[in-house]
């Protein structure tokens, strides 16, 4: 299949402006004749739903949480980037663009990234106007900090709760549209499948999670803003409910899944404490601005940190990357921690941890300054581990955190299925093989507030869409299939819980497709995952009924999809015999053990198409061309 990215002609910094002019508009009086279905109310979905409502479209928005305000975006701590250059430190749209392309290891679509950098400035203005209480300087102007391996201060933040405040802004804007009658929200409602009519996305099948009722909602376009799939690893920093169902179901209906193997492992999370562990907690990356990362030089050193003298400590990031030190990008920091633990130099229970030590910073700046900067994080750490980081070094370990891969979209954020748009973490486009800190919030809001409201109008204006109701034969068919699947899950009545399968899958993914991958491990997974899936469909137990509030059934449905998706993720990882960004292929490294990209053979987006159960998915390639940046090997030495 030929993938049309629909990137406009012209120099990169003029493309979006030109494109906006070329896009067709829908007459204001006609907008109310259209209905847009928005699945997901995180930053991407809520901002899109609010903006569509303001423009005059009818919107139905869906989320599985009990309130749209609880989408996983709420958990983002660190901040949001924007090329405002308020700090006068040399930032610009071009630099944010360049940093993002380079940080993504040259696996993102250049034109999309430039647009993102351009829009970043409007996002901050919009959020301030909505009342997002960003941090301020004493003079009353907006404060910035540097974040995640960049050399300028361009990150805006609201204490350690930036995601919460941005989401509340978008949620409130959406609630306002509910009041005007333009938006209707369906909380505790899960999308189970996608309805296509004449090849275009025209509806979704949903389950009301309180009553169990299965329904079909139809409209003129479907927008998926359903977040990321990091929970394929079972343990991750994502909220427990995050899942792959919506985009996976769309994939099975023909949407292409792009670069699923690009997942991000975040270096600073609190290590696992036991078998019962249900999720991992992220410690903001800003801690690396002042904390020093180290492990003992000796293997299996059982002494407490305080008794290991300076000369027997290995500050391995400072040693290996003298110019970036503890501030190397996430993928580099994560792999280095894994390497130290693989050598038997890990610390803490299970030896899966490294120290993040504030002793020097406290000596240099005083405990008060450190408390002012990181007090809330230290408190959170102490609450979870019962250890006081002012006194003993924190223990951290990498954890699955973010999905750069997702459904393939063109420049308009439309998938290869007409009328199916994909926003936020659910799409693949802007972060390449590695996402820089504070850029996911930026992308979600850019997509929802400032891109899709324009591009969807062009589609609606140009398309001739017949009326489709919930009684359309296609809708009925998909609805029956969704019902059938739930019945099947309930009828198995086996011996194992959905969670136990999810944990097994997570372990396979983490061991063989985590921070480092090789052909052999991936082949093990490609064999084991289908076996596990088969066992699931024979031996899972889901108690209760379909027509009621049934959390086991919700979980089982999500795990079932992860068991299919995990295989595709490994297949993608297996085919990409290069290291790039978060995808480190052991067979492709420099003599010093650094990631080695292969631009000759892999400078493309891998977009997989579903060919039927048990059939090998089809690989489609979108070549990546770079007109304004030169490809270089990343080096943080």
């Amino acid at each position: 299949m030929e993938l049309k990215s629909n990137v406009p002609e012209g120099p990169v910094e003029k493309k979006w402006e030109k494109h906006r002019f070329d896009l067709k508009l829908v007459n204001p009086a006609n907008k109310r004749k259209y209905t847009i279905l928005v699945v997901g109310t995180g930053l991407a979905g809520a901002s899109a739903a609010a903006s569509f409502g303001e423009l005059g479209y009818n919107v139905k928005a869906f989320c599985f949480q009990d309130s749209p305000r609880r989408a996983h975006s709420i958990a983002a701590q660190g901040g949001i980037n924007a090329a405002k250059n308020y700090c006068n430190d040399g930032d610009s749209v071009h630099r944010l663009f360049y940093d993002t392309v380079k940080g993504g290891d040259y696996r993102a679509r250049e034109a999309n990234v430039h647009r993102l950098a351009e829009i970043s400035v409007s996002i901050i203005d919009q959020c301030v106007a909505q009342g997002v209480p960003f941090a301020r300087e004493y003079g009353g102007l907006l404060a910035n900090r540097s974040f995640g391996g960049t050399q300028v201060s361009r990150t805006f933040y609201a204490r350690g709760q930036t995601g919460q405040q941005l989401l509340l802004g978008a949620y409130q804007a959406m609630e306002r549209q509910i009041g005007t009658g333009m938006v209707k929200v369906f909380p505790r409602t899960e999308m189970l499948d996608l309805v296509l009519v004449n090849g275009a996305a025209r509806g979704i099948v949903t389950r009301n999670l309180v009553t169990g009722k299965i329904e079909t909602h139809t409209g003129d376009a479907v927008v998926l803003a359903t977040g990321g799939y990091a929970n394929v690893f079972y343990l991750s920093t994502n909220a427990k409910g995050c899942n792959v169902m919506a985009i996976w179901r769309a994939y099975r209906r023909g949407a292409l899944m792009a670069n699923p193997c690009y997942t991000q492992i975040h270096p600073t999370c609190i290590p696992v404490s036991g078998e019962y562990q249900s999720k991992l907690t992220l410690m903001s990356e800003s801690l690396r601005n002042d904390g020093r990362i180290w492990v003992p030089m000796k293997k299996d050193d059982a002494r407490p940190a305080s008794q290991i003298p300076e000369s027997e400590r290995d500050y391995y990031l400072e040693r290996r990357y003298p110019s970036f030190g503890n501030l190397v990008p996430r993928d580099v920091a994560s792999r280095a921690a894994k390497a130290a633990c693989d050598e038997g130099r890990g610390v803490g229970p299970g030896k899966l941890g490294v120290y993040l030590d504030f002793a020097d910073a406290i000596r240099r700046l005083g405990e008060k300054t450190i408390a002012d900067k990181y007090g809330n994080l230290f408190e959170m750490y102490e609450r979870i581990t019962d250890e006081n980081p002012y006194k003993v070094p924190m223990r951290i370990f990498p954890a699955s955190h973010y999905a750069m891969g997702g459904l393939w979209v063109d420049y308009n954020l439309m998938s290869n299925i007409p009328g199916l748009y994909v926003l936020g973490e659910a799409n693949f486009s802007d972060h390449g093989a590695n996402r820089l800190g504070a850029s996911a919030l930026m992308q979600g809001l850019a997509d929802g507030y400032f891109i899709v409201p324009y591009t969807i109008g062009d589609y609606l204006a140009k398309s001739k869409l017949e009326k489709v109701g919930a009684d359309h034969p296609e809708a009925k068919k998909v609805e029956a299939e969704a019902n059938e699947r739930l019945k099947k899950l309930l009828a198995i009545k086996g011996k194992r819980t959905p969670d136990s399968f999810h944990k097994d899958l997570g372990k396979l993914m983490w061991d063989n497709c985590g921070m480092a991958r090789n052909a052999k491990g991936l082949e093990t997974n490609l064999q084991r995952i289908p076996e596990l899936r088969e066992e699931f469909w024979k031996n899972v137990t889901v108690l209760g009924a379909g027509e009621e509030f049934n959390q086991s059934l919700e979980k089982a449905g999500r795990v079932a999809d992860f068991l299919e998706f995990g295989e595709l993720l490994c297949l993608d990882a297996h085919h990409r015999r290069e290291s790039c960004g978060g995808h480190f292929r052991e067979e492709s490294q420099t003599p010093e053990g650094e990631a080695l990209r292969d631009d000759q053979n892999f400078c493309y987006v891998a977009a997989w198409g579903f060919k039927g159960d048990g059939q090998k998915p089809e690989l489609n390639r979108e070549p990546l061309t770079f007109e304004s940046v030169h490809l270089t090997q990343r080096s943080y030495k």
């Binding site: 919009q126 106007a129 204490r159 409130q172 409910g241 562990q277 907690t281 609450r383 108690l543 509030f549």
Partner: protein, 257 residues
């Protein structure tokens, strides 16, 4: 550690509920409270008994989804801590824990420990926003805001909408939740144009949803996992009183050539 749980089991909104006793003989102090419930649920499921329904999502104390009344206290014994952030080391070996849902007329039980808090969304819908459309905003730095004001607004904005304030209040009042939103927006210069109108509309909706009145017991403040203070309630009351004076019907806007 051995923990005995007395958990509220209720099949649906219209069924009668009751406390059922379960043992977790091998809880670990490092577990979170919800992980302990996970362990219980895995075991119940393996035995063919339906697991206990409870709401949760982020498990980091920020989404506001979780909430269990533990031995009479919303979110349990540890101050400034959501249920999901509570660890078993806050309890002792041999403890009996009674686990109940939020109880309030405006929060009907869905099942077991899960309740319906959509009344909160409807209060926000009534006016808990600043009415700016996408694309019409001036530069972010065009309105300087004193750091102190921004910080205070942020204190109020930190509300996670969990509803513990309602569960803690003997009158099931939602004043702290509503006051936090009114203060967050009303403190900022951007929030001034709609300030009094917002207070009037949100309070009216709050009353309509069946929440009780505030009688200054301050239980809400004590239960709030984000330590939002009752002084915001005083601020809300002032704005609400001003609203009564400011209200006038609007004129139609159509016209011109």
């Amino acid at each position: 550690m051995r923990i005995t749980l007395h958990i509220w089991r209720q099949k649906g909104p219209h069924d009668a509920g009751r406390l059922v006793t379960y043992e977790v003989p091998d809880a670990s102090p490092e577990m979170s409270f919800l992980e302990m419930l996970d362990v219980l649920n895995e075991r119940l499921t393996a035995k063919g008994e339906e697991p206990v329904a409870f709401d949760h999502d982020c498990r980091e104390g920020i989404c506001g989804t979780c909430g269990v009344v533990i031995n009479g206290i919303p979110h349990g014994p540890r101050a400034a801590t959501t249920t999901c952030q509570l660890h078993m080391r806050s309890f002792r070996d041999g403890d009996h824990l009674t686990c109940e849902p939020w109880r309030a007329r405006a929060f009907p039980v869905i099942r077991d420990l899960a309740v319906d808090r959509s009344a909160f969304d409807r209060i926000v819908e009534a006016g808990g926003f600043i009415g700016v459309n996408t694309g019409s905003a001036p530069d972010g730095n065009s309105i300087p805001i004193p750091k102190k004001t921004a910080d205070l607004s942020m204190d109020a904005a930190a509300c996670i909408g969990c509803g513990a304030c309602v569960a803690a209040c003997p009158n099931a009042s939602a004043m702290l939740f509503v006051a936090a939103k009114i203060s967050h927006l009303g403190l900022l210069p951007q929030g001034q144009p709609e300030r009094f109108d917002r207070a009037a509309k949100m309070v009216a909706r709050m009353d309509g949803e069946g929440f009780g009145n505030c009688t200054n017991t301050r239980e809400c403040e004590a239960a709030c996992p984000k330590e939002i203070g009752v002084e915001f309630i005083a601020r809300m009351n002032r704005d609400f009183l001003r609203a009564g004076v400011a209200d006038r019907p609007e004129k139609a806007t159509a016209g011109g050539a």
